[in-house]
Structure formats: structure tokens, C-alpha cells
């Protein structure tokens, strides 16, 4: 089903998507409509243009492909499924996602991967091809974030306060060195063979999705960042 979105509001778009049942949906001329695909499961949605905030929030499966840029809060609290953005993505991309994957070809804004968490088999993955704004992975408590910094001249692909308040999960930075304000509450090490093996499938999927080359990705080293405590508040209190 093809939806011409130019004159439709978000409610009309989502109703049309739901009415398509299991058949794939293409949305053309998307121009900032919010909430597209919220709470969907097991549907294929392809978007041409720019979807608005909260794309694929509470996503519970299926695939959303965006040919263009996305705005803020992509995949907020998503549980399962795949969101691919062949462009840039805004602030709070992957906010509190618990499962599924988000692939962004270009850059993401502030607070990407904030409060990502994992449980059991559900391990979220956020792959950023370009660079990430400040507070990447803030409060991250599970899952994996990869920032590749491709086609960027910056030696470090993240802005300030990377991993601030992180207490679980992992961040992989493809970088020449660690961020200069690297927090003392984090630990880091250059990625070893075992680490790289772990992210290999995600990198391959990224290359397949966006036509990037693994050879290029391998040209720079990766750093693995993890928190140094899973209970950062433990020592903070005195019982009254």
C-alpha cells in the first residue's frame, strides 16, 4: 500500500498503516508528521521524506525504513523490531529502548541511547554511522551503542558527557582516542579481537543497509566503554 502523506495528519497516516494489516506500506512525501508507526508490530513501513518526532515509539516488531532524516525520540521505549534511517536522526534517538535495533546512517543529536536497558534475551542495539551529540548513552543500563564517525574529520565521534550516569551496557566508539572529558565513573579499553567479533554482525548489517565498506570502518580503532559500577547510588545515602 502506498500512502501519499502530503495532506495527511499523523492520525490519518497511522490509521492507514494499521488498515494495511500485514502488507508492506510505503509512505511518500512525509513531512514532519509525528508518531508514525507507534506501537506497531510485524509490519513493514518504508518512509520517503522526513518523519516527525516519536517515530516508531513502543515499536513491538517489524521494520521501519526511512529514506531521509528523522527527528527526535525515534524508537522511544521500543521493545523489538528494526528502524533504519538513511540520513540523520534527532535528539533522544532510542530513548529507553529495551530491544530491537536502530541503525542511523548519519549523525544523531543529543542524548542518543539514553536509558537503554536490556533484559534476558532482549538486548537493544543502536548503530550510528556518523557522530553523536552530547550525553550519548546517559543512564544507559543495558544494550549496545556503536558510534562509527564515518566521513567525519573529528578524531572522537561524540560530543561532551559521553556515558554520563551509565550503569550497564556497552558503548563502542570508533575513535582515535577517548573523549577528553571521559568520566571517572566509566572504564574503557581498546577493543580486542573478541569485542570486534561481537560487533561484527552489527557492522555487517550497517554496511549492507547503507552501502558502506567494512574496509573503511576497520581503518580506525574502537574503544569499548563500560560503567565501573552497576549501583552508582549505593554509597550516597544515610538512613534516617
Amino acid at each position: 500500500m502506498v500512502i501519499q502523506a502530503e495532506l495527511l495528519d499523523f492520525q490519518a497516516i497511522n490509521e492507514a498503516i494499521r488498515s494495511a494489516g500485514n502488507s508492506p506500506v510505503e509512505i511518500h512525501g512525509c513531512c514532519g508528521q509525528r508518531y508514525i508507526g507507534d506501537g506497531l508490530a510485524d509490519q513493514q513501513v518504508e518512509i520517503f521524506g522526513t518523519p516527525g518526532n516519536a517515530l516508531g515509539a513502543y515499536l513491538n516488531g517489524g521494520t521501519i525504513l526511512v529514506h531521509g532524516n528523522a527527528q527526535d525520540a525515534v524508537g522511544d521505549t521500543m521493545n523489538e523490531g528494526l528502524i533504519c534511517i538513511d540520513g540523520l536522526s534527532g535528539d533522544a534517538t532510542g530513548y529507553s529502548m529495551r530491544g530491537g535495533s536502530i541503525f542511523v546512517h548519519g549523525n544523531v543529536g543529543y542524548r542518543a541511547g539514553i536509558h537503554m536497558k536490556e533484559y534476558g534475551e532482549q538486548k537493544p542495539l543502536l548503530v550510528v554511522g556518523g557522530t553523536a551529540g552530547s550525553f550519548l548513552g546517559e543512564y544507559q543500563s543495558g544494550g549496545t551503542i556503536l558510534v562509527l564517525g564515518l566521513h567525519s574529520k573529528d578524531p572522537v565521534p561524540v560530543n561532551n558527557f559521553c556515558g554520563m550516569g551509565m550503569y550497564g551496557g556497552r558503548i563502542y566508539l570508533r575513535a582515535e582516542h577517548l573523549p577528553s572529558d571521559f568520566s571517572s565513573r566509566l572504564t574503557s579499553r581498546p577493543a580486542e579481537e573478541a569485542d570486534l567479533k561481537e560487533i561484527q554482525p552489527a557492522l555487517e548489517q550497517f554496511c549492507r543497509l547503507f552501502g558502506e565498506s567494512m574496509e573503511e570502518i576497520r581503518k580506525k580503532p574502537f574503544y569499548v566503554i563500560t560503567p565501573n559500577s552497576s549501583s552508582p547510588y549505593q554509597q550516597l545515602y544515610a538512613a534516617k
Binding site: F10, G39, I114, Y119, Y167, Y233, A238, K240
Partner: protein, 501 residues
């Protein structure tokens, strides 16, 4: 060993002629206060560990025990009281932020106690609720500005989704984790029997409780713990938690030690990891952003559920509520600063926020002035202690009230304010299996049903006394209230006259 400068706050009085050395007190006390001295054949107590929860007192078969406040004293000082001195010792010992539980014990004014309710005499005679119908059913949600009729003259139903309550009382948000599963079960069962709702809090919904979905408000907070599609679809309504009266402006954390077994499963986070709800929602910086969360939840649940937005009562609450009413939310929940909590920094709990009475009156007034009062319902919470508080809250403009502390008291809580220690001897604020099983969900539900039923009867009697036979007619009916001993300023904020006027 370092010297403890804090003398125990309580003394345990054991009447030796009554004590039969059954050692029940020893087995019942998770704080390990009591122990048996085999050598001398008598029970001993370490008062320093006592939190005054009365478990031993209530269960002692011979009534041999009582707990009294120690009269041990510092040199009397009106400025430097015992509590202040002890707090300084605690912080000097530990370097820690003081952590406390339940609502503030400080002697702030309770405006409920300075408001009196009217009754009819001679004209507009009182109604006897035992003899005449008296409506307490309450609908929460957006109300249409005007009604439309179809060509056949019938009313068109253009109502937004809402909540229907048999009585204007809901159990307020208390997460699974902060309280036990048995406490949650009791709340859920009682809510179902009473035709009202309980609230999951931000810890997700245990799988055993999905069956009570139509009496459940599911909460979405900044940590999004346990939030997924089935959770959202199961609730009768979804509450976005922006703030809490006991700790405005800060988030919550359940320590990793409490994240075990079913709590880990329900919150969907690994065992032993802290559960941190940050103070802000990091995607909400404005009313427009709040609207985004409201609508993303509405879209994800097909516009079938009313959305509540819960905020703490703070200085500019009227403007904040006006914004929330414009955000697309259906219900605003306002939590006053005397509200309870499972754990909060003591200084925040005791000093931040404003009383619910003033906040509620200001919000209702503001929304009326702006002509948007009908766009939202208001639920008031933060220390509703008895049925007359409910009546006064509704007359000040609330549609319904949240009760938390009162509900826990019904379950056996003795307000020892030690929830954060996780060793609740009454099986409420604990996750220790041996303690949790002390609270029987069926019995607890029965006590909650009794409480709310009794309050509802009292509400009906007070309404009847005013000559009002429906809670609808009481809402915002400030003519039914008078202040006693309040200043002009307080009266003007509350929008009521002084007694005698």
C-alpha cells in the same frame, strides 16, 4: 568500635510478669531487636534497632510489650532540637544524604483541618443516604463543551475515553519493588471489588495482576521500567509520572539489592542492577514535548485509554496544570508535598513543594478562568487522611482523590517510616519472602474494601447533610466550605469564606 552518639529513640517496655518467653517477638522482628538470654532465662532487647513498627507489640500473646518514646534528653533547646542534632551526627558519621520514607512528619499546616463543611438547616433539607439514592459514581476524563444530537434527536456519543469509578477514590501509585507483590495484589483485588482503580507505579505490572487490568492505571515514568505494548494495552488508563509530592524535582532509585527475582522480571532489568528513574523525562522540556509523550501513548494504544499526567504540587502549579490541560492529557493528578514515598531524601521531602489544598484550589480556579476546566479531570493526592478530606478536596475542585498512605495503613502499616530499609515487618514495603507472606492479599483486600466502603458511606452522609445527592454537585462547590483561623490571603487562595461569613 566508634562511639555512637545517637541514643535510641524508643524504649521497649517488657512486663516481666507477663512475658512467657515464647520468643514470638524475636521471630517477628526483622530488625533483630529481641533476643533470648539463655543464661538468665529472659528476653532482651536492643532498642537501637527498633523502628517502632509495633509488630511485636501487636503479636505478643500476653500483651507484655509496649514501645514508648525515650525521655532521654539533650539539654532543652528550642533551636537545636533532638532530631536536628541526630541528623548532624548521622551525616558526620556517614557523609550521606539523609534518606527517609513516607510523608513529611514536620508540623506544617494541614489546611483540611482549617476548613469546615456546611450542612442544611430548615431550607433545602438534608437527605438521608440510607433512604434516598446518593450518587458517588465519578467519571474521569475530558468532557465535551457541548452536546450534539443526531437527526433522530438522540445524543451523539462524542465522549473521549475515560475512567468510571464507583466512588471518587483511587489507590495512588506505589511500585512493585517499593511495596511487595502481596500488597499490590491486595490493592488490585480491592480496586476490582470497589469498582475503582489502583496504580502500578513505575515498576511495571506483575504477570499475575494482568487480570485486574480494567481496574489498573499503568504508569510511565522517566525510567520506563516494564513499559511495553501489552502493559500499555492492559491498563484502564496510562499515567505519565512527571513528579511526586514527596520528592518534587528528583527521580527515584530502587537499589540493586532489591532487584531480584520477579522484580527484575517485571521491571525488565537485570538482577542486582540499580533501577534509576531520572528526575526529568529527557524528551520533555516543554508542554509541547509533554504533548508528544501524551500523543505517542495515545497513538500506540489506539485512543482507547485516557492519559493522566501526574505532577507534584509546586509553586507555579496553576500555570503548569494549565499547560498540562492543553497537552492533550485527560486527567491531571496533583500530588501535594505531604504525600508519601518509599524513599526520598529527607530534606527534599520535608522542604520542597506546597500543600495539596492550596495547589488544588489554585489549579481549579485557573482552569475555570481559562475555560478549560472541562477538558481535564483533577485527581488530588498527597495526604488524604479521612473521608472529610475527600469531601473538602472535591468541594475545592477535585474530581477524585488518590489515597496511598491511608491504603497502606489499612494493610497494616504503622507509619514507622522505615520503608527504605526494606525490612517491613508487616509485609508491605519489603521483598523478603518470609516478610511478604505475612500480608495475606485476600485479607488485605478485605480491609481496603472496608476502608473505602466506610469512607464512601461517610461521604454520602456529609453530602446528604448538605442537601446534595450527587458527587457531581459537590465538585467545586466552595460555598459548602468555610475557613477557620485562616488569613485573608489563605482564604482568597482557597476561594472560600471564613466561618461566620
Amino acid at each position: 568500635m566508634p562511639v555512637s552518639m545517637i541514643y535510641p529513640e524508643f524504649e521497649i517496655i517488657r512486663k516481666e510478669d507477663r512475658c512467657i518467653h515464647c520468643r514470638l517477638c524475636e521471630r517477628q522482628c526483622a530488625n533483630e531487636v529481641h533476643r533470648f538470654d539463655k543464661e538468665h532465662g529472659r528476653m532482651l532487647a536492643d532498642e537501637a534497632k527498633c523502628v517502632d513498627c509495633h509488630r511485636c507489640v501487636a503479636l505478643c500473646p500476653t500483651r507484655a510489650l509496649k514501645i514508648v518514646k525515650s525521655d532521654h534528653t539533650f539539654r532543652p533547646n528550642a533551636n537545636w532540637g533532638e532530631e536536628t542534632i541526630h541528623d548532624i551526627y548521622r551525616q558526620a558519621d556517614s557523609g550521606g544524604v539523609l534518606l527517609a520514607a513516607m510523608g513529611t512528619p514536620k508540623p506544617y499546616p494541614v489546611y483540611w483541618d482549617k476548613i469546615l463543611v456546611n450542612a442544611s438547616q430548615v431550607t433545602n433539607p438534608p437527605i438521608d443516604p440510607l433512604r434516598e439514592p446518593m450518587e458517588t459514581r465519578t467519571f474521569l476524563g475530558k468532557k465535551p463543551h457541548q452536546v450534539h444530537r443526531g437527526p433522530d434527536g438522540r445524543l451523539k456519543n462524542e465522549l473521549s475515553p475515560g475512567l468510571s469509578l464507583d466512588t471518587p477514590i483511587l489507590f495512588s501509585a506505589m511500585s512493585y519493588g517499593s511495596i511487595s507483590l502481596n500488597a499490590h495484589k491486595a490493592l488490585a483485588k480491592a480496586a476490582e471489588k470497589l469498582g475503582i482503580c489502583y496504580n502500578t507505579g513505575e515498576g511495571g505490572l506483575h504477570e499475575d495482576l494482568y487480570q485486574y487490568g480494567s481496574n489498573t492505571i499503568v504508569q510511565v515514568a522517566s525510567g520506563r521500567f516494564g513499559v511495553h505494548k501489552q502493559y500499555l494495552n492492559t491498563g484502564a488508563a496510562i499515567e505519565i509520572k512527571m513528579g511526586q509530592g514527596a520528592k518534587p524535582g528528583i527521580g527515584g532509585h530502587l537499589p540493586g539489592a532489591k532487584i531480584a527475582g520477579d522484580i527484575s522480571k517485571t521491571r525488565m532489568i537485570p538482577q542486582g542492577a540499580d533501577s534509576i528513574s531520572p528526575a526529568p523525562h529527557h524528551d520533555i522540556y516543554s508542554i509541547e514535548d509533554l504533548r508528544q509523550l501524551v500523543y505517542s501513548l495515545k497513538e500506540a494504544t489506539g485512543y482507547q485509554k485516557p492519559i493522566l499526567v501526574k505532577v507534584a504540587a509546586v509553586h507555579n502549579i496553576a500555570a503548569i496544570a494549565s499547560g498540562i490541560a492543553r497537552s492533550g492529557a485527560d486527567i491531571i493528578a496533583i500530588d501535594g508535598f505531604r504525600g508519601g514515598t518509599g524513599a526520598a531524601p529527607a530534606r527534599i521531602r520535608d522542604n520542597i513543594g506546597i500543600p495539596i489544598e492550596l495547589a488544588l484550589a489554585a489549579v481549579d480556579q485557573r482552569l475555570r478562568e481559562e475555560g478549560i476546566r472541562g477538558d481535564v479531570s483533577i485527581v488530588a493526592g498527597g495526604s488524604i487522611r479521612e473521608s472529610s478530606d475527600v469531601v473538602k478536596a472535591i468541594a475545592l475542585g477535585a474530581d477524585a482523590v488518590y489515597i496511598g498512605t491511608a491504603a497502606l495503613l489499612a494493610l497494616g502499616c504503622h507509619l514507622c517510616r522505615s520503608c527504605h530499609a526494606g525490612k517491613c515487618n508487616w509485609g508491605i514495603a519489603t521483598q523478603q519472602p518470609d516478610l511478604v507472606k505475612r500480608l495475606d492479599p485476600e485479607e488485605g483486600a478485605g480491609r481496603l474494601v472496608n476502608l473505602v466502603t466506610a469512607w464512601t458511606r461517610e461521604i454520602k452522609e456529609m453530602m446528604g447533610g448538605m442537601g446534595i445527592n450527587s458527587v457531581e454537585a459537590l465538585r467545586g462547590n466552595r460555598m459548602m466550605l468555610r475557613g477557620i483561623g485562616l488569613s485573608d490571603r489563605e482564604l482568597s487562595i482557597l476561594g472560600i469564606k471564613h466561618a461566620g461569613e
